[in-house]
Point group: C2
Chain length 465, copies 2
């Protein structure tokens, strides 16, 4: 379990507000909050939604324990409020898109309904979990896209942001990475783990051939030999070839060599030739060292004969854009729609209870999304949320709705998907997202419109101020 006691994993103000609602007798007021993000990370065209399974586990364990209440007492919280928290359980409803779904900016992909206290108090943990895991699943998806049918593994734990590494390795799998070096994530989330040797193994033997031989003796069918400790082409690869031949004599096969420095395209080509000339065309080449989607794409464009990419820092920290800007905004209170006004027009939120409709092209690929009020029927047109003359005709298009109820009166009503299941779903959904939205450079913007009724409601509430 990620967080055995999740209630204090929150911003202090969630608790001061909760106490304020409670003490002023307003805590039973019904409220809806939406989770959405405002801009796509990595200058990309989509996000892979992740973090839902962890979040559901957190909600199921969202009870205040004695030590936590004692701590809050020390922080000045009042005893009547602490008594309330002692019996607190989230009893609201949650609607969400599926883990692994392809999503876009400004869509309410998760909605929490309940009283204002219980919906408010979940804010921070929802944001913390969904923002990070969706960010990493998205980065992973881009890296896998660049790698095509080559394997990709996560080696990032040593540079991940502390314990965030646990979620990073898992979210990477949701986004399409094949497995991880991270053993604890493997155990917690049932993702595949692997790994063989570091430079220190080779160094510790004094000579490379003995290091390789010893490893191969203990792992005759599972050796990937790291060939760059001394000199890749003069020492590493020739020694690996020797050991591969010795393994052959005993009926085993060397799995791969690994390149971890230097010009990977050049070294892979030279190594491939050397291996092939030695009759070792089955020995694969793994490469690592500061890889991301751009370096992998370049290696692929050069037809570098690399079979497996090991990615680390750039994946697990989402290095070039290390935070998703997801927010959690009140959309109705006491049955009345509400929104957050902003001088920045793009930051004005969408009021009231909404659904997401995904409109499909003839071939089943995604055409555009529409955000509609919950009770609205079929639409002919969806509109740009704030540019008057922009709209998309959606009449007669096939469509799907993306949100479904996953928590009912506090009870989780779905079986959360495993990372591998979520990965399969993401993979399938990505095939329906057209290529131009998946491009790394200036991807075509996927349209997310709103219904006329929703836009009118928003305009009316903004006017009111």
């Amino acid at each position: 379990m990620l967080l055995q006691k999740p209630t204090l994993y929150t911003d202090f103000y969630e608790l001061t507000m909760a106490q304020g609602y409670f003490l002023s007798g307003r805590h039973q007021q019904p409220a809806n909050f939406d989770y959405f993000f405002r801009s796509l990370p990595f200058k990309g065209g989509y996000v892979i939604f992740a973090g839902l399974s962890d979040l559901l586990e957190i909600i199921e364990n969202f009870t205040f324990h004695e030590d936590e209440l004692a701590y809050l007492k020390e922080q000045g919280f009042k005893s009547e409020f602490l008594s309330y928290l002692k019996d607190f359980q989230f009893q609201g409803d949650i609607y969400s898109v599926k883990e692994g779904e392809v999503i876009f900016a400004n869509e309410p992909v998760l909605r929490v309904e309940g009283n204002i206290l219980e919906t408010q108090i979940l804010e921070t943990v929802i944001l913390n979990t969904l923002n990070f895991e969706s960010l990493i699943a998205t980065k992973a998806s881009r890296i896998k896209l660049a790698a095509g049918d080559k394997s990709v593994l996560d080696f990032g734990l040593r540079r991940s942001q502390g314990l965030g590494g646990l979620q990073a390795s898992k979210a990477s799998v949701i986004g399409g990475i094949g497995g991880s070096s991270n053993v604890l994530s493997g155990k917690m989330y049932d993702i595949d783990v692997s790994g063989t040797m570091a430079h220190s193994w080779v160094q510790s033997f004094g000579d490379e051939i003995t290091a390789f031989r010893t490893y191969a003796r203990h792992y005759p069918d599972a050796s990937i030999l790291l060939v760059d400790t001394y000199d890749t082409l003069k020492s590493g690869v020739p020694n690996a070839i020797k050991v591969a031949k010795e393994l052959e004599e005993k009926g085993h096969k060397l799995i791969a060599i690994r390149l971890d420095s230097g010009d990977l395209a050049y070294l892979a080509r030279q190594s491939r030739n050397m291996l092939d000339n030695a009759g070792l065309d089955y020995v694969k080449i793994a490469a690592s060292n500061q890889l991301d989607e751009y370096v992998i794409k370049s290696l692929q464009n050069q037809n570098a004969p690399i079979d497996l990419f090991g990615v680390g820092t750039k994946l697990v920290t989402a290095y070039d854009d290390p935070a998703l800007d997801g927010v959690y905004k009140l959309s109705s209170i006491n049955g009345n729609p509400t929104l957050k006004i902003s001088e920045n027009i793009e930051k004005i939120t969408l009021p009231d209870t909404k659904k997401i409709v995904r409109y499909l092209n003839e071939d089943g690929s995604f055409y555009c999304d529409g955000v509609l009020l919950e009770d609205e029927g079929e639409q002919d047109v969806v509109y740009h949320p704030h540019v008057t003359h922009k709209s998309s005709k959606v009449a007669e298009l096939k469509s799907e709705t993306l949100l479904s109820k996953i928590v009912d009166q506090g009870r989780v009503t779905i079986i959360p998907t495993t990372p591998k299941q979520s990965a399969a779903y993401a993979r399938e959904r990505l095939t329906k997202l057209n290529q131009e939205h998946k491009r790394f450079d200036n991807p075509h913007v996927y349209k997310v419109g709103v219904s006329k009724k929703l836009r009118d409601l928003k305009d009316q509430l903004v006017q009111k101020g």
Copy 2:
């Protein structure tokens, strides 16, 4: 406790190597590993060392439990090795600089001595912990430097990299941030927590004045009113002034208003005038919204009347440089010095058991550091690690040695410092680092030299290949 069961929080290859050493009967060979990083983050001039207390707790709890051994069995590890792990305890020695120390690139700031198995198996968790916490402490230190004597608080949990948020808030305090919104970090690490209201509080009341009044009623001496939900200057500040006056009548004082959008310099100045004109010169102004050291420096240069900065995403993810490149390298095996060769001359490591000597100027400020072999005495000159003609005269300078033993035969021999203690140490040490090394733009490079004997040993081992 950060990680109750830390042994599997590791890269799979640490365990395959450990098994390899064990099965080949080499696991008792003595080995030394050094932790160091190669480049300073944020194009800055220094790093604040953090993560040590968490690491010591992890080492004290580094035992393999039944469920962990069962998982490793499923992964194909052999029963004789698993029996060994069952009784495994780290029994080596660890030397380290103090938590909060000001450190630089290519200095071995932590050294692990023991047998090759026990020293190797700690690699990942050492890197994961020290890399991230040092990164964030450093970022925090830069932000605090920009803020001068103004207060800074961490509000970043919602955008932190998953559970990494627990460490981020703590490491921020070590670097100089005054406290956090993160309640669980507060409880775990005894750091100060605080917070008041979100936009949703204000929205939920329908009108701003009622929202402010209600909050002030329940927190008459602890209110910071968020004034930008509708219109900062036309609505938020005037309403805050009203409520401040009402508080005065009851003998209380409004603590502050908070600005969270728009041009913070302009809004702060206007708000300050309005507050002062209302006789509320004691009401402070807090500001947040995508702040980092550069934005804060700009606000300070404009003399924006902001008393408290709330920083989030840019701090807790170290947004502009989200990973420290720390490594853990074998420096001796079986009593023989060793190094990792690389075509990139800067990546060649320093062999053998070493100490760090910090040379001081007359006024006690830091002049330069020298990395010497452990048994060396006073030096007249320290040398650039790979540029022949560069050296620094250190004869007759006062000096300190930075490494001390903190773990003796597996037993932690120091009382780990609290974040507040580490913060006090960091603050004191930073006063001894001259201004030009702390500059954000092109900071003067602080010199880290090596002794002649160490450089000769390195050259000799590189020659040998």
